[in-house]
Symmetry: C2
Subunit: 345 residues, 2 copies
Amino acid sequence: MKKQKIDTMKELSVAIGVSRPTLSRYFQDPQSVRRSTAARIQRELEKIEYVPNFFATRMNRKTTGLIGVIIPYLNDLFFTKLLQAIEIAAMDAGFTVIMQCSHFDPDIEARAAQTFMSMSVDGALVVPLGNQSDLKTYERLQERLPFVLVDSRPTTMPNVDFVGSDHWQSTGLITEYLCRVGPPPIFLAMPRVNFNAMEREHAYIECMERLGHEPEVVGTELIEDFWYFEEHGEAVMNAAFARGQYIDRSVLCVNDRVAIGALRAASRHGLVPGRGAKGGLRIAGHDDYPLCPFTAPSLTTVAQNVDAIGKAAVSRLVQKMRGGFAPGQPEIQLFDGALKLRESA
Amino acid sequence: MKKQKIDTMKELSVAIGVSRPTLSRYFQDPQSVRRSTAARIQRELEKIEYVPNFFATRMNRKTTGLIGVIIPYLNDLFFTKLLQAIEIAAMDAGFTVIMQCSHFDPDIEARAAQTFMSMSVDGALVVPLGNQSDLKTYERLQERLPFVLVDSRPTTMPNVDFVGSDHWQSTGLITEYLCRVGPPPIFLAMPRVNFNAMEREHAYIECMERLGHEPEVVGTELIEDFWYFEEHGEAVMNAAFARGQYIDRSVLCVNDRVAIGALRAASRHGLVPGRGAKGGLRIAGHDDYPLCPFTAPSLTTVAQNVDAIGKAAVSRLVQKMRGGFAPGQPEIQLFDGALKLRESA
């Protein structure tokens, strides 16, 4: 038997004999109505075909219950880990996350923001491309919506709330560790298009100078398409190892994906980086990419506190949604990194 | 100076002196109006503050331009690669992808489907959890929306369009290859909760029997939380290698993430799998996970044609959206895998 089909709350109210306000309350929160009423609604709903219209049911309270999230790239487990932390925190706060990827393209990023505004999401969390981002997009977003930047903070957007890692602390921590256990590290960087990468590079230099060592940065030249981090790390270190360079140095990589490439280069040259190796090659990274325990040797790194970042970003966003969003002093929340000692350094 | 704020197409039409139908056409496709008109609209839009309401502008043609995509898990580069292929194909077809993750939870999966229905997405592509999925969710989805299953095909949903890999072909291909170059492989499986995993296991057994070899499946017992594939592969092979077992065999892993764990176990036991090793250990995977070229040794595998799968799924979905979606014979599209020979086997 085909179920009766119902499209509006009004028809639904008639069909199951429960008042509209009670139905509304039920759909916002089933526990806000009497248990017997909830059971009755539940029972009746099973007999009919009804999909509550998201936008219609939310219209009265002027919210959609949606949080839009923009991430720059999909094939990077750091971003997926961050997105997962955001999703879990959003679910706990009663929101549904809608994700769009900007694929490292400022036009797609602008369109994603536009889509979120058109869909009337309650707020947006954006991991921005960086200075390539179209500033106008963000200005409009900020006028229209509560919005918080996550993970990467463009210098061009100083007056926006931000949640991320304290790269001065995290990079300093691992630089000091490497100096303590072996020769002072070189820094395997990447092309300077990413804020976090630049901040880590500067933090490395500052820390080395503070400790009285000569900083040495390699790999800032563009080798292949920029976002293939592993390829970049492998290509730079492969060339160096082939010249017999750095084979007995510590190599601090700007992130773990670059370090995975460097480990691969080491393996091709028969080198086994490790903290046991006295005076020998050591390789370390930054982030605690989920695969670090499974590389050979497993990768020593400094972990970003991704769960705390996701949680704080959602929490700040919800706070802005609830309190309105008068422009004022932006809130900047930075989380410390923690050393993860494994085999490679 | 604060820009004039405008909320409806009607107000916009008055403000910039262009008729509503022309404006509508412009927002659907700027090239569908005369160039001078487009330039004028463009110029005027810059002076005012107007965000076209997604749902309002699309109301007339009864579409939202949105495709909803559900994937089961975020921290897996196979799913992100597939999602990326879908996004690119959808963009080419003029649609915006809205992604939700089901986090391997049937309740979250059901809610994601519900959200898509409420948002009136034009269609949905779903990578399902499998037999754990709530069948009712899919029945309602199918009644309401054009919808295509991707990657994994629950036996409980035989009458839904499906696009994925031909695991009999792909697994047969790599099983035959391993038999050709070394001792017949054992199969490192995983707990049998995933259709693709089961299909590959059956395909391996069938191929081995066809070639006159004794199939041997290991690792079907649940070791840790199921979705930590690398941990699973490492734990199973670590225990075996510690017993001196399989150290001179070929090991075909159910997927590359399990194989990464197996490589790690080999490295811990000082074993270097490779195709050079006569009679020695070989390890191979399935999928062509993006990190395969960077493991040590690099991982031999059979690649799924992810780009073709994403493209075909979007294409089939768009076809259903345009032609209505009368129930009929489901269309099943399976793509062949291709060998990727690297160092590990």
